[in-house]
């Protein structure tokens, strides 16, 4: 076993040890989370827009990936996760000690992940930093200019993502000290990007033809199979996202792993039941059957994603089914049974 005993550079002076098994799983998780963004989110989003915007959306997400990677190396990692030295790290930002990854050497570790190399911790967090702005793309799809989009994402990364990540995850962050829990980015990634998405929608305005029955084709999804494939890739990627957030390959990871699996399944079942329940009651407007199928499946995929997010908060997926005012008592019993596992 080629383990290295090294001294962690923290105020806590934790003895840290690089464990090959943990390192292997975390590398796998890193790739899985990137996989969520790069083919997963691209397919998921580009399936739901008009065909004239497919390449634009794909290119937006792709270029965000490259942009944020570079920014993360230059500034972001240090601003969010610079190891605490007890003096310069503030409650909302890190410090400049890791700009250009200065001071990160092959055997250094981070106090939040004492069993893997710091370079791997940096890579893993980088994939989170990438997926957060990529999610916002869905809000202004079809109508935003490219260069302003890049500028917005760069500023958003530095001014929104990094402070939030630092506040919640870093031991010096004020939300961390207040005791707010976020296991795998439910707050850091999803609330921040969702809220920013809402704001960007409000600022940029609606698409042409939105909410207009006559011009429904202007906002219609063009290929739901893309969305289906993207959702499947996202499901696969969630294993890295959630189980990787334990920063180790131990029982916490396997627990999150099982929860991720079950919550996705139960979320999809919950959605199916909702859809079945409401569709059978509400008379559908007169539309070509094309719209029925696409909107049905689009909505189902979106809602079935929601519980996955819940599981990213560390557990207990299935309560989402209750939240979706659902319905069958068996489901809720099932959900509590699963929560008991934790």
């Amino acid at each position: 076993m080629a383990t290295h005993k090294i001294k962690n550079q923290t105020v806590l002076e934790v003895e840290s040890e690089i464990i090959p098994g943990d390192t292997a799983w975390m590398m796998m998780s890193t790739v899985l989370v990137l996989f969520m963004t790069l083919p997963g989110l691209i397919l998921y989003y580009s399936g739901m827009i008009r065909i004239q915007n497919v390449l634009a959306t794909a290119m937006q997400i792709f270029s965000i990936t490259c942009l944020i990677s570079a920014l993360w190396m230059f500034f972001g990692y240090s601003l969010a996760f610079a190891p605490a030295h007890g003096h310069s790290s503030s409650f909302i930002y890190g410090d400049t000690s890791r700009f250009w990854l200065l001071g990160m050497h092959p055997t250094s570790t981070h106090q939040l992940a004492p069993n893997i190399p710091e370079s791997l911790f940096c890579s893993f967090q980088m994939t989170f930093a990438i997926i957060a702005p990529s999610l916002i793309v869905g809000s202004f799809a079809d109508r935003m200019k490219f260069i302003p989009m890049l500028i917005f994402m760069a500023l958003w990364h530095l001014l929104v993502y990094c402070p939030i990540a630092h506040s919640i995850w870093h031991p010096d962050g004020f939300l961390f000290k207040a005791g707010a829990l976020d296991f795998a980015g439910g707050t850091v990634v999803h609330i921040s990007s969702g809220m920013s998405g809402l704001i960007s929608t409000l600022v940029i305005g609606n698409r042409q033809g939105f909410g207009d029955e006559e011009k429904k084709h202007l906002t219609a999804p063009h290929n739901i199979l893309f969305t289906v494939m993207g959702s499947c890739m996202l499901w696969v990627g969630w294993f890295g996202f959630n189980a990787g957030s334990s920063m180790s390959a131990g029982v916490l990871a396997t627990n999150a792993f099982l929860n991720t699996f079950l919550s996705s399944s139960f979320g999809a079942i919950a959605w199916l039941l909702t859809e079945w329940y409401f569709r059978s009651k509400i008379p559908l407007p007169h539309l070509p059957s094309f719209f029925h199928t696409t909107q049905g499946s689009q909505a189902s995929l979106e809602w079935s994603m929601v519980p996955w997010l819940d599981s990213s908060r560390s557990h207990q997926p299935v309560d989402m089914s209750i939240r979706r005012h659902l319905i069958s008592s068996e489901l809720s019993v099932g959900s509590f049974a699963i929560s008991a596992l934790n």
Binding site: I147, D182, G186, I191, G197, L198, N206, P307
Partner: protein, 174 residues
Amino acid sequence: LKYRLRIDDALDAFGVHAVGGIVGGILTGFFSNEHINGADGVFYAPLDVGLTQVGKQIYGIVVVTLWACIVSLIILLGLKYSIGLRVKPEVEMNGLDKKFFREEIAAVHFHHPSEAPGSHLLQTSQSLLGEIAMNILHFPHFQLPSHTPLTQSLPEPHSVPTSPPPSDNGAHPI
């Protein structure tokens, strides 16, 4: 709901992520467990301790929400009134692919499979693969409504002089 409020969050980033994140964040206050998460939630602790954890979760969520909203708003408004955020209406109508990348998914132009480049090859090959490809190209989504300005502004479809006339009732070797 987004149709009722007339907020065009095109692909539901808010509905999926913010709502899911908020609910998950609050539920963490209920389900978290000392051994796993480092603090006990409502279901594993005395009620007052658990509710304190819920309060902490809500505190975190409110702070993050406000921060994300305010800073995004500042950035976006700054960009909107300096270099502009939104594409021109006609560009939006025609799609962003052409404007910014000068490329398109080729199927935009096709009104009929026989207009696709190389479709004559598919038709003459009569192979299984060609038949599948023809069926994909004939997928009705690719046919845009002809009465919209969208199709009027598109260039002429590729002319394939050597292509035989389309045979809708052609032989199906499958």
